[in-house]
């Protein structure tokens, strides 16, 4: 078949009892080592490969302004403050006064989306500002998740600022009441 016959009949080989017959090699080659090596390479590439390209998320921080009159003012009706506490718990309040009765509430990362959507629907889009205040107990994942939540719900105006001591006290008290250490 596809075997290469280099000798050939033209060479004048004599057939006879004294001439040894060339051993016919099987056309099947043992593939096992090659296949072994192939699978070895597959496993190697599977382990070393990075499939998902990392993505980049934009973060724009505001410039520090010294004069209070240059700072952006937030309307009371449009303000929505989100605080990130310990153990992935979120605290939030609307308006300016966290201490008003019933205003300071607790949420999780699952329920905060509904609150954001509710606020977005009930507020004039030009006034709506979300203020994100991570406490020192929050993790980086919490921060990214909440920023992501802004993108998911298409909140146009949001800011990430430091938490005030009044708010941090409230967070601490609520945490103590809920038994989060």
């Amino acid at each position: 078949m596809a075997s290469i016959d280099s000798g050939g009949d033209g060479g004048g080989h004599k057939k006879g009892p004294g001439v040894k017959k060339a051993k016919k090699l099987s056309t099947k080659v043992d593939m096992t080592p090659m296949v072994d090596l192939g699978f070895l390479l597959i496993t190697f590439f599977i382990f070393t490969t990075t499939m998902s390209q990392p993505t980049a998320m934009n973060l724009f921080m505001p410039k520090d302004v010294d004069k209070p009159e240059e700072q952006n003012k937030v309307k009371e009706s449009g303000a929505f403050t989100i605080m990130l506490g310990k153990d992935d718990v979120i605290y939030f309040y609307e308006g300016m006064d966290p201490a008003a009765p019933g205003n300071f509430r607790t949420a999780t990362f699952k329920t905060i989306r509904d609150e954001i959507i509710r606020k977005k629907k009930s507020t004039n889009p030009d006034d709506l500002v979300m203020i994100i205040k991570p406490t020192q107990d929050a993790t980086y994942k919490n921060t990214v998740d909440i920023l992501d939540e802004m993108t998911i719900n298409e909140i146009k105006r949001y800011a990430m600022v430091d938490i005030s001591s009044v708010e941090y006290q409230l967070v601490k008290i609520t945490e103590a009441a809920a038994g989060i250490k």
Partner: protein, 223 residues
């Protein structure tokens, strides 16, 4: 009655299609693979719905691991060279040419300036050096002015003089927020307010307004 004959199968069945598929997968992985860049620290990034591809050129990356250690890396070797020469001169670190070369070759650095010479004078071929690079203590930046990190940022901006430098922040899921805040303040004292956070991709949750917008974009054809 003739007894029911069981057809005898040959013990070696044909493996060809199986091997064909295996090699197809192999070639797929060989083409699709992109080797992980070697990094001395382990950082697991959080997920985000952002679909922007991470820029690989002109990047100055600050990595924070879960204990809050801060590391810097730059993609461009020429800029790394300029960066270390500037730092060497202005801070009087007394680095020799070999140590500067080591800095240019090392992917990620995170030690206080006072210990930089000690780290870079290590023999690169030695196994203990890898360990030393893994156990770097991080660039000190735990105050509101950003500590030494702000200094590195300033020199990096000088090294890039005028060209656009992408400021990347890569941080671990479990990094505490203050560590991230300190890094931000190190950029802020240099008047840098635009960052790119390195994340892993994730789909927008179904039913949300971002999901609707993206669906509309797909339906309406790509712009």
């Amino acid at each position: 009655m003739p007894s029911v004959k069981i057809k005898k199968h040959s013990p070696d069945n044909d493996m060809t299609p199986f091997v064909d598929v295996a090699f197809l997968i192999l070639s797929f992985f060989m083409l699709a693979t992109k080797f992980k860049p070697e990094e001395p620290i382990e950082v697991t990034t959080p997920n985000s719905v952002s679909s922007q591809i991470l820029p690989e050129k002109d990047a100055f990356m600050v990595s924070i691991d879960k204990e809050g250690r801060v590391f810097i890396s730059m993609d461009n070797p020429q800029s790394r060279q300029v960066l270390i020469q500037n730092v060497n001169q202005s801070r009087g670190l007394g680095l020799g040419p070999a140590e500067i070369k080591n800095f240019v070759n090392s992917p990620t650095v995170g030690v206080p300036l006072s210990k930089l010479k000690g780290l870079l004078s290590l023999d690169q071929e030695d196994d203990a050096t890898d360990k030393a690079f893994k156990e770097q203590e991080g660039i000190p930046c735990a105050d509101s002015t950003g500590g030494e990190l702000s200094y590195w940022v300033r020199e990096a901006l000088v090294a890039y003089s005028g060209r656009k430098l992408n400021l990347l922040i890569k941080s671990d899921n479990n990094t505490k927020y203050p560590a991230f805040k300190y890094v931000l303040s190190a950029f802020k004292v240099n008047d840098q307010n635009k960052f790119l956070l390195v994340t892993s991709p994730e789909d927008a949750p179904i039913g949300t307004s971002l999901y609707e917008t993206r669906q509309k974009q797909i339906m309406g054809g790509d712009k």
